[in-house]
């Protein structure tokens, strides 16, 4: 019996020991890492961004260059897809383990600033902003303080498939200032000539296009202090415009539109050659051109040259620094490097939006391909006619989903355009009030 007892006891001790080791290893590992860092002067910062395969490869190259230039700074890289990125960042921020440097989006920036998560970069000496135009740098500004550095800028435009237009025998001149009605007629004509093709992807549920539409009528989606600014009449007209277009074959039927979730390029009707036009942010069209296997062209939205100046320059993404970072200097060095280093800029080109450092923009144009030149030229065309913009309120993301829901009910004819406008107006106002 004694031997048995011994065995039992030793097994129990072993079990306890294992548990303690397992549960303790997280903390012990971390603290020893920190000790090493302070002894050798090594600074460890974490950098996180949302990514695509191409962006991952490019960013890793840039970080390798950075670590070579600053051997005492080690950068831990965290990257994930768009939707996972925000869950992760919010969870990390809640647990106090947020990254030191992060890629930030305009739709979330206001929220992170107001919750005190981002460092004020207004008087940061390390980050050089002298080559960034004032009106672009101002996109990272809130209440007179600079919280985020625009990494690139872009704008929404149509991309179109010139082969389809040619086949349908339609003359389309992207330099002309078409009206919304002109555009609808072109789309309907495409369907009349080619019954299996629709003019444009159904953009009824796309918040970015709706915001632009409002601006062509002298309205904004939101007020600068985050209230709903768009009128019920404009909403009704918007839903009516797309419903008419759908009824006349200018855009695909409701069910086709509903089965495409706008997240997978391969399934886009545009890639399948079923639509001639689709809305797109400058910088994202390269993937579409590759998947389509044919050249695509850009055209600005209807009424782009109007006196209302409907276009705005959109910040593609930003660099921001956590307000809780232990190494503010190393973090600022990284942001400065990503933003201004000429070698990094040649690696990124326009993948994070059209380059905002004007010196790098010129230098990149010499090495870039035809698509880069076209992106630069469309962007400069937009900048000439653009009016200033301000940040969306935190609830904008949720309101985008609300638009999708209500717009679908219009396409399926469960709601009339004016009922839809009423519902959208009431629910969006509620969401903005709740924050």
């Amino acid at each position: 019996m004694n031997g048995f007892k011994m065995k039992v006891a030793s097994v129990a001790v072993l079990g306890l020991a294992t548990t303690l080791t397992l549960s303790g290893c997280g903390t012990s590992g971390k603290s020893s890492g920190a000790n090493n860092a302070s002894e050798s002067g090594q600074e460890n910062i974490t950098f996180s961004w949302w990514t695509s395969p191409q962006r991952t490869a490019e960013t890793k190259k840039a970080i390798a260059l950075f670590e070579k230039k600053y051997p005492n700074i080690h950068v831990t890289m965290e990257y994930t897809g768009w939707s996972g990125y925000w869950s992760k960042l919010a969870t990390e921020s809640a647990g106090g383990s947020e990254p030191d440097v992060m890629q930030m989006d305009a739709s979330r920036l206001a929220e992170y600033i107001t919750k005190g998560q981002l460092a004020d970069l207004s008087s940061n000496q390390t980050i050089d902003t002298s080559s960034i135009p004032k009106n672009i740098l101002q996109l990272g500004d809130m209440n007179g303080k600079l919280y985020a550095i625009p990494a690139g800028v872009n704008a929404t435009t149509w991309i179109y498939n010139p082969a389809i237009l040619k086949q349908a025998g339609i003359q389309f001149d992207p330099s002309k200032n078409y009206t919304w009605d002109d555009f609808a007629k072109i789309c309907e004509e495409i369907h009349q000539k080619l019954p299996n093709v629709y003019g444009v992807d159904d953009e009824i549920d796309q918040g970015a296009v709706l915001a632009y539409y409002a601006q062509t009528r002298g309205e904004h989606m939101y007020t600068p202090d985050g209230k709903l600014a768009i009128s019920k009449q404009t909403l009704t007209d918007w839903f009516t415009y797309w419903l008419d277009l759908q009824n006349k074959g200018g855009c695909p039927p409701a069910q086709v539109n509903a089965s495409y979730d706008h997240s997978n390029t391969q399934e886009s009707p545009f890639i399948k050659g079923e639509t001639a036009f689709q809305y797109m942010f400058i910088g994202e069209e390269l993937e579409y051109q590759q998947d389509l296997g044919k050249p695509i062209e850009h055209a600005l939205f209807p009424d782009w040259a109007d006196s209302d100046k409907p276009y705005t320059v959109h910040p593609a993404m930003y660099w921001a620094i956590s307000s809780h970072t232990k190494y503010p200097d190393a973090a600022a060095k990284l942001v400065n490097f990503l933003e201004n280093d000429p070698q990094v800029s040649k690696i990124f080109l326009n993948e994070r939006g059209v380059t905002v450092n004007q010196d790098n923009l010129k230098a990149d144009a010499k090495v870039g391909d035809a698509m880069l030149k076209e992106q630069d030229s469309v962007m400069s065309q937009v900048e000439k006619v653009a009016s200033p913009s301000y940040l969306d309120p935190p609830a904008a993301g949720q309101i985008g989903d609300l638009l999708t829901q209500i717009a679908q009910q219009v396409t399926f004819k469960k709601l009339t355009p004016s009922q839809a406008a009423d519902q959208f107006y009431t629910q969006a106002t509620n969401m903005l009030a709740q924050g």
Partner: protein, 308 residues
Amino acid sequence: MGLPTDAVVASRHSKRRASWSSRSGLAAYGFLTPWMLGMLLMTLGAMLFTIYLAFTNYDLLSQPRWIGALNFHQILQDPNFWTSIRVTFIYVVISVPARLIASLLVATLLNKEVRGIGIYRALIYLPSLIGGSIGISIGWKKLFDVAGPINSVLKAVGLHGPVWLGNPRTAILVIVLLSVWQFGSEMVIFLAGFKQIPGYLYESATIDGASAVRQYFHITLPMLSPIIFFNLVMGTISSFMTFTQVYVLTDGGPMNSTLFYVLYLYEQAFQYYHMGYAAALSIILLIMIAVCTGFLFLTAKFWVKYDV
């Protein structure tokens, strides 16, 4: 006469067991520590925290703010909440019985002793091992695409297939089908249940001249009722918590026709960061599942037979 003796033996037996276990209790707790810690920290701790969060406004970035029962008040007025309840109940009511019947039928077929039956059982069990995965969901999405294999087959026989995932009527059907296709684990439990039914019941029924169909309905099903009940309860609980397939296949669309309860909960929590609201939703889900399970247990009295 036999009863007291049995009790004495039993109590003596359990006394011996108790003293043995106290000696080895240390070992038991030693081995249990990882699970106990996990249970206390990961499950119980999280559950208590969820209950607390349900009464707060919490967006992850700032501290939770106590708002009393406001979340519950808002949930009751939230049209998407009622939509998700309706969608989830429709799904539970259709998919749970469909899956039970499918698994029972296939188990009946696979209960025959023929050569190579083991391979068939394994093959048919396979979908339920991988069925809940992202990969299968993506595969099904391709399968039911407008121009996917299913519609190609329909076209070949002269039918015009619907836009499966884009039509509010058919989208939920695809998700039900995916669930029914994963009947494997229920089937295995049914197969084990068949083996438990004593052979003499069938022998005497055959002697009495009962047909095979009559035997199935009067011997097999009643004898199997505890197992049917088990599968019914487990299936109901897991159906309420359906998430992965819906997230991948339809993401709640079209027109919220597949806005499952847990998907809506996820949207509130991880897309809008309404953690307090989502915590309140999860408590309501817990109550709903408890009530439905309790109801099933009440009905069990009338149809589940635990003795021969």
